[in-house]
């Protein structure tokens, strides 16, 4: 307790006193000495404290500039505060409390069980960094969670948790943890049942890792050998497959590396190889039945993804290399760019007179070596042409004359043509599509910078799915988003202190949601109007909603170049395409399956379960007289929603290209796009969730 108080007093002093005035440093020195004394036994803490005292000593002897010293000491103290707070969770008391709660809990009292779960998370934390007790606590927590989800019996689970608690109490008194606890966990299905069965894939992984390392060494000596790169990629892919579900973090790591290798790369620099070596080293730490720690994986993945984005050398980097720019100047320019994101770095540097036009041109030339710039309009035409090629091919395939062809060689050649066309299409798409996440990160920097310049603080959180957008739309989207952020920060009546940006990839469109605690945004403000105008060009839409807790803005950007796996269904002669990933089953209802609810509503009873119905006949097209049992039910399950779509007929699965619809069709609820069908007619692509949105 004393320690925590002293640290916060020291932090306060550090913020208030004038570091250039020697007498004012005295009290701080005293506090730091006190902290060193109080942290005596805890080596990690006391080392930091000693370092901080050293820094202050040096500042007093004028060996370090006072402002620098203040910064270092302040940060160090904050770190100490964080660490000491962690220290103070006492596992003994916590354990006792939890054991008592567990003893008195009723098996169906979910709120009480929830409290225990939270306590167990804290308990696991308090044992850190001791892996063994921590793992046991987490196993016990898993047991309780499984019982809540009714996957194991509650009594069994509680008994197991009790045993773990007893074991841990013993452990705190210095007894070793009994291996029988793990055995029990295995019996409860918390750990893989048969060790032997598990060993095989892990062994495979270990030997694969070794081979991967060898390949990497070979690449180091011949970095241009593309065959070796392919091998490396295949190895990482295989490892990620083996690790699937066993070690999600490690799997994620392998995936991100293999993804980097698949982005068309022509050889690597030695620093790239270092990143791969980092990943391999981290994977070596993986132990059987465990996973890698999230922060470490995150760190390496960050490095890997930086490599992906920086394969083209950045302008700033080049200018530094060519020694025409100083690092400080570059940093300064970056800071300015945060506030003026529409300006290019080169422009800012020129304006400030940090580089000459000649320098800039030379650097830009180097930057684009090996690249060709193409007019975007030509690229769009190319995509359209390829799109037509694909459609034409589908048309030919369903032509009766074609169906009658029996010439095997012709058919094979046609298949080959099909493969090439679809490859070509993928290629063209990859030229047009650009990943968006880096842009969202830039937006968050922009918002942060803007808030700072307005003298405010804002807590920004990003929840991003990987999304891609046509390159030519990216700039406009960024303009839209910066205007919205500016409107939120500059014009809200009650300024926001938090902002959450959620980006989701949906069928046929990208959904961007901004949620903030700021209130009173005028939806007719100039900035919003500008954003809306820009959005029109993107064919997107913006919805602003004032909520109790703040404001929510929802942006939708339609995608035009997506291929989805769809279920083809026909309703009243019209083709519908339903994304295959949300289809649970297809069911042929009988008369006795139909249940009538109040009013005219009907539901389907499938294996005793009641499922709501949406009849596409009455919903999007005019009603017809067909009864439910004359139709086919496609059972949809997605994001907590479940219902059955009724259609006339289901005609199998197919990959379809999503096309944007004209204005007339865009208004239909649930329809997010269209696609040209094999017979030349337009199929409507449904986003089933959309069908549920507020009627009328």
């Amino acid at each position: 307790m004393k320690l925590k108080e002293t640290i916060s007093e020291a932090i306060k002093l550090c913020e208030e006193i004038d570091f250039e005035n020697l007498p004012e440093l005295g009290p701080l020195l005293e506090k730091l000495e006190k902290i060193v004394e109080l942290t005596g036994e805890k080596e990690e803490l006391s080392n930091i404290a000693k370092d901080l005292k050293n820094v202050l000593d040096k500042a007093i002897f004028e060996e370090i500039p006072p402002q620098k010293a203040r910064e270092i000491i302040h940060q160090g103290l904050l770190r100490l505060q964080e660490l000491s707070q962690k220290e103070e969770i006492d596992p003994t008391a916590l354990l006792e409390d939890l054991a008592y709660k567990l003893l008195t809990v009723e098996p169906y009292d979910l709120p009480a069980l929830g409290e225990i779960l939270k306590g167990m998370e804290e308990l696991a934390e308090s044992f850190s960094p001791q892996a063994e007790p921590q793992e046991l606590v987490l196993l016990a927590k898993k047991a309780l969670e499984k019982a809540i989800l009714e996957e194991v019996g509650m009594e069994e689970a509680v008994a197991f948790v009790n045993e773990v608690f007893k074991g841990l109490q013993g452990f705190l008194f210095g007894e070793p943890l009994s291996p029988s606890l793990k055995q029990k966990a295995r019996e409860l299905g918390l750990l893989p049942q048969e060790e032997i069965k598990e060993e095989k894939p892990f062994e495979k992984f270990a030997s694969l890792l070794e081979r991967t390392q060898k390949v990497l060494l070979e690449i180091a000596s011949s970095p241009q050998d593309l065959g070796l790169l392919g091998q490396l990629k295949a190895h990482f892919e295989e490892m990620s497959y083996i690790l699937k579900e066993k070690a999600p973090q490690a799997e994620r790591l392998c995936q991100s590396v293999s993804k980097l290798l698949s982005s068309d790369v022509k050889g690597f620099s030695s620093s790239d190889l270092e990143t791969f070596a980092l990943a391999i080293d981290l994977l070596k730490d993986l132990k059987e039945g465990e996973d890698l720690p999230f922060p470490k994986v995150e760190e390496v993945i960050n490095k890997v993804s930086q490599k992906v984005t920086s394969q083209k050398k950045l302008l700033g980097e080049l200018l530094l290399e060519q020694k025409v720019l100083k690092e400080e100047d570059l940093k300064e320019a970056f800071e300015e760019q945060k506030l003026k994101p529409h300006k290019k770095l080169g422009e800012i540097l020129l304006e400030k007179g940090k580089v000459t036009t000649q320098d800039l041109v030379r650097a830009l030339k180097t930057q684009t070596e090996g690249m060709v710039s193409v007019e975007i309009q030509k690229l769009i035409q190319l995509t359209d042409l390829v799109g037509e090629l694909v459609v034409l091919q589908a048309l030919m395939r369903s032509n009766p004359t074609f169906l009658a062809v029996a010439d095997l060689k012709f058919l094979q050649e046609f298949e080959q043509l099909g493969r090439i066309t679809s490859e070509l299409q993928k290629m063209v798409m990859s030229l047009r599509m650009e990943p968006l996440n880096e842009m969202f990160q830039r937006l968050s920097l922009f918002a942060q910078g803007l808030a700072t310049s307005l003298g405010r603080k804002i807590d920004i959180r990003l929840d991003l799915q990987e999304t891609e957008l046509e390159a030519e739309k990216k700039g406009a989207l960024y303009e839209v988003l910066t205007r919205i952020v500016r409107a939120l920060l500059e014009e809200s009546l009650q300024s926001p202190s938090s902002l959450k940006l959620t980006v989701q990839r949906k069928t046929g469109y990208i959904n961007i949601n901004l949620r903030t605690d700021g209130k009173g945004l005028d939806p007719n403000s100039l900035l919003i109007q500008e954003a809306e105008k820009l959005l029109q060009a993107l064919e997107g839409s913006l919805e602003i909603e004032a909520q109790q807790e703040g404001t929510s803005l929802n942006l939708r950007i339609p995608l035009t170049l997506v291929v989805i796996d769809g279920l083809l269904a026909q309703v009243g002669g019209q083709w519908f395409i339903i994304p295959a990933d949300c289809v649970r089953e297809i069911y042929l209802p009988k008369k006795e399956n139909v249940i009538f609810l109040s009013g005219k509503e009907e539901a389907l009873k499938i294996r005793d379960e009641l499922i709501p119905i949406i009849n596409l006949h009455g919903y999007l097209l005019g009603k017809n007289g067909k009864k439910v049992w004359e139709l086919v039910a496609i059972v949809i399950e997605k994001e907590h929603k479940q219902f059955a779509l009724l259609v006339d007929e289901v005609k199998g699965k197919q990959e379809v290209v999503v096309k944007n619809l004209g204005k007339v069709l865009r208004g239909i609820r649930g329809v997010v796009g269209g696609s040209i069908m094999g017979d030349g007619s337009v199929g409507l692509i449904l986003e089933p969730e959309e069908l549920l949105k507020e009627e009328g």
């Binding site: 009480a112 009013g599 499938i606 009641l610 907590h640």
Partner: protein
């Protein structure tokens, strides 16, 4: 027993209502989303809320948070309805103090059993 059914999908509300009526519950109210549910909760006495997860305006989890943090509502019983594939998310709700959950699609028997458990638990009173 006054029950509030919260779901943005009218047919799903109708199904739940029918099952509840068949089980003998008479007073059943409906809300389209969390926000509407909160309004009703503040003006009427409600004993049990049965809420869907994903809804526009305010989702089920936020509704639960709001109920638990409101001193006047915090003792209201709350049950969440979830789809099998999203079952893991139940644990989040449990940590926030949900009283029960039911997996969609449910049979009348399952819903009855779950509601009975929740009510029985309430009568016993929480463990101190």
């Amino acid at each position: 027993m006054r029950i509030l059914v919260v779901d943005d999908f009218p047919t799903m509300r109708a199904i739940t209502k029918k099952i509840l009526k068949d089980l003998g519950f008479k007073e059943i109210l409906e809300a389209e989303n969390g926000e509407e549910a909160l309004k009703i909760l503040k003006s009427e006495r409600i004993d049990l809320v049965i809420s869907d997860w994903n809804m526009p305006k305010m989702d089920g989890l936020t509704l639960l948070k709001n109920i638990r943090s409101d001193p006047e509502l915090k003792d209201t019983l709350v049950m969440m309805v979830t789809a099998e594939a999203e079952k893991q998310k139940v644990l989040e709700a449990v940590k926030l103090g949900v009283n029960g959950y039911v997996v969609k699609p449910f049979t009348p028997e399952t819903l009855e059993e779950k509601i009975k458990k929740v009510i029985a638990q309430k009568e016993k009173g929480p463990a101190k």
